[in-house]
Symmetry: C3
Subunit: 156 residues, 3 copies
């Protein structure tokens, strides 16, 4: 038998009551990371949500959502470099009509994803100390991006 | 202080009431993308769900679920090419008993994921204009794949 | 018109009532996979949850959560190899103050993700036959990792 690897805390229980939904529009400045932690936290606060989870969904296929380090901006530079290496502009792509940055942008979006959730406790996002929520723009030029935010859980 | 990067819409609130669950069985034709948007939308409609979120979960480790471009089929070809480059058949893999396409399939599934959610408003999936929902088969041969679909939210 | 690609089962409906939340602390042994399926299943059982979904969220940026093959341990070895190839220690990274394994760990976390969900039916996780839930440590040394587990759904 495998040994128990983790230690579980006490369980908190609440009644599911509320689903709150809103759109967040973000203007990007071209390829790179835009932190949206404050905006997402503001939504949770305004929603009246207490305990539950925050769901974020990006309505695009050439940008993505990710949770990443919020301390050293160099990390974001390196993450952008890594994505360029994994999906190079000069790859053997056949979908090239929208420019050399378009197909790599789709590949990056597939690898990093457009949907995520974060737990909420007492109205506060359960992010780790060094975690921030980021919209990652994969296209070279600025774009207007739509995110649907939802809170599912209990009310205050 | 960082400037506010996004603009938040008004928040819609409903009562969480319904969790609806069903299985979707999909026959793939081997490596590549199978669009399941219509089937997922049909589930949401049949579930009686109004506002909330759709959750999809794939019960396999050599295929995955992704949201991607639904306009130009060349994008799917290029995404398949990209995955082959990231997880090549001739990599230094030691798990080779199930064939040269098996371990690359596990790697591709790890990179692209088996769970995702999509917001639902007034019974309609909140997909972006160019987004489709895809089951991505990573094995070379046809497989029967099981997806668990769930709606969490309010009723009509 | 595209043909229908999937077959949908009957839909089960329950009332959303319960959100249960707990922390799972896991001690890793350095780079590699730690299975937490038993711990997550134990949480669902203890939560009193019946039908709904389990949400897991990892509060770190240099480790991740993934669903993967639980049969042959060689798969985990190969997945670790694949991640090393995708995010090599000797890449052109500028964030190097925390050691050569740190920036690759962030890249691996971005590619594999920190949030996932699994459906629950009659208190049982809807995992496929060969699926296990894993915490993937990307740092070279042992770390203490925090996971927030949540059940959203109906009660027994």
């Amino acid at each position: 038998m495998r040994t128990v690897v983790g230690r579980l805390s006490a369980i908190e229980r609440v009644t599911a009551e509320l689903i709150a939904t809103a759109d967040l529009m973000v203007e990007t400045r071209g390829e790179g990371f835009t932190e949206i932690t404050r905006e997402v936290a503001g939504f949770v606060e305004q929603s009246g949500g207490r305990d539950g989870a925050l769901f974020a969904y990006l309505r695009h296929t050439s940008a993505s959502l990710t949770i990443q380090e919020n301390a050293d901006p160099d990390v974001q530079t390196d993450l952008t470099t890594a994505l360029r290496m994994l999906a190079p502009h000069d790859g053997p792509w056949i979908h090239t009509t929208e420019g050399p940055d378009d197909m790599p942008a789709h590949i990056k979006a597939m690898l990093t994803g457009v949907s995520l959730h974060i737990p909420v406790r007492a109205g506060v996002l359960g992010l780790g100390t060094w975690q921030g929520i980021y919209l990652v723009e994969h296209r070279a030029t600025p774009h207007r991006r739509e995110i649907i935010l939802q809170f599912v859980g209990s009310r205050w």
